[in-house]
Symmetry: C2
Subunit: 331 residues, 2 copies
């Protein structure tokens, strides 16, 4: 395998250098704690929303720190969750007495870090709740991950809705409830054309044949549910749409938010071609897409691939929350 | 050479499908003319700003149609300028009597199309001016392109400043003057780590050795000024910064807008690491970066590479114009 070039100095310093570069761009608007790898808003008056996880998923999550969105992001090393100490520091820096909601993508090591931090911070007097996002439905019937729904791109929609609700003054317990309702209505499926090439190894995490795609892969190179010969964008849209139809059991009285997410090196042209194929299927099946977002919002570093997220919108305040303005850099 | 997969149905339909997908996402905000491949704002009250060029540079230019930005984008086929007829149609659809400013990237075929359209539209009674953007200074001393400054990523900054000035009611002739002043203060240099892989051929436009980078390449795979062995992000930052220093002949009393632009498949982590290296050089040399933007704003499809744009800001209204809010999807 050919080594792939990366714009970096050493893999060891990449996350710190990236956050310092982000802070150079955004220093008028946000604060940065390099010791704990935190990007945060210094003073807010409502429940604080903290999200985080391993780095390598940019712009998640630091790109979502801003008005009507997150209060802080805790950035771990490459594909590794942040340490409890860093999460506790983020809690200390953002809790103004109204409590803190931790938004965590459902991976065992992430949940472990955030749960530990919650336990310790509660002892110190903070009110903390966790919303665990598990929108990836691609591993539904796999033997390895039969009960595991990973947290992937749909997390970004949860950030936005809970962020806007918090800014309207919603209480911690109500935000926790809303988060759980959101997660129950959130469905994501992805497909890879090529595996991510990590900065450390400079080699692909997995390799596919020149005409092969892999449905259902995770955002850290985890196994998917099926490899098939690749023909066209339409083929990918039909596969993801049909599986989604089965999962959500939708009917034409419902409205949906749609996120088409590039997983890293996927061009915008590819993303919009896929979106067009999807829009035709929506029309045939009478799916009411009240909110549509297209872009690379939660990536698997430079993986070539795309994911489709559907969020059912039974509560009109969710759509309103998605549409609220924000000063976050990457919404 | 291995064929590279692309999310598409056929290369022939890619641009139309992309624009239809974009319109599906943005139909509440903008209009779409599929016959002429136009994305436009249906009614504005000031001088209309039209930009355009070949497709394959997404989100340029359709992503910049919005308030305080462009009135319309005219989208050509892949790496081919739009036909004069399409440009004339865009003029007809957006001229409200205050005239139209065409923003054109300096490539001979683009200039030919837009100049023809200007000539014909003027005969039909429209007031038209052209601003030709030629920010690429990488080919300064090459024998082939000795007098050719191509229009590249800096164009995006010109869109924003002229867009905001037009929205404040600036006249066509003053916008033309401002555009020329902006262009005289605008400098871009790029570097490629890998060539773009086009949807039509599914093969790289040029190939580099596994340890090689290419300074000064254009956004359509045009020749650069030097191939060198690649070491680090810092090496790239130093090369581009030093050449920029020579070009702009800056002093510490000046302020600058900075655009770090991913050229396609470059990850945000790579872009921010490079930005961090750059920020350290700025500090050493006392460069006052009053406005910093980082992201993939004008791409060479999926090329792996990065460009640096500096815009000198002698006029305080330019910085204000950059900071104005917009509802465009990709600013």
């Amino acid at each position: 395998m050919k080594k792939v070039k990366q714009i970096q100095n050493s893999a060891r310093t990449s996350v710190d250098a990236m956050l310092a570069g982000y802070y150079f761009q955004n220093s008028k608007r946000i604060s940065y704690d390099p010791t704990h790898k935190l990007i945060y808003r210094p003073s807010t008056s409502n429940v604080a929303l903290i999200s985080g996880g391993g780095s390598g998923h940019e712009p998640a999550d630091f790109g979502y720190v801003g008005s009507n969105l997150l209060t802080a992001s805790v950035n771990g090393d490459f594909f590794s969750p942040p340490k409890p100490g860093a999460i506790i520091e983020a809690i200390k820096k953002t809790d103004n007495g109204k409590g803190v909601l931790l938004i965590v993508k459902n991976f065992p090591s992430d949940m472990e870090s955030f749960t530990k931090a919650k336990f310790i911070a509660e002892k110190a007097g903070h009110k903390i709740e966790i919303v665990c996002v598990s929108d990836d439905h691609s591993v539904e019937n796999s033997s390895t991950y039969s009960k595991r729904h990973r947290g992937v791109a749909g997390t970004v929609l949860i950030h936005k809705i809970l962020g806007a609700l918090a800014e309207k003054g919603m209480s911690l317990s109500d935000l926790k409830k809303a988060g759980e309702q959101l997660n129950a209505n959130l469905f994501t499926l992805g497909v890879a054309l090529e595996g991510a090439v990590l900065p450390e190894t400079q080699r692909p995490m997995f390799e596919l044949d020149h005409d092969e795609v892999y449905f259902g892969v995770g955002i850290h190179g985890e196994d998917g549910y099926r490899k098939v010969p690749y023909h066209s964008s339409e083929q990918l849209a039909i596969e993801l749409f049909n599986k989604m139809k089965h999962l959500t059991d939708w009917n034409s009285t419902e409205t949906y938010a749609v996120l088409v997410n590039g997983l890293g090196s996927t061009t915008l042209m590819e993303q919009y071609i896929f979106t067009h194929d999807l829009s035709r299927l929506f029309k045939i099946e009478n799916v009411n897409a009240a909110f549509v977002k297209v872009g690379s919002y939660l990536t698997s570093y430079n993986m070539h691939g795309i994911s489709l997220t559907l969020l059912r919108l039974p509560d009109p305040s969710w759509l309103k929350a998605l549409e609220e303005e924000t000063d976050a850099s990457h919404w």
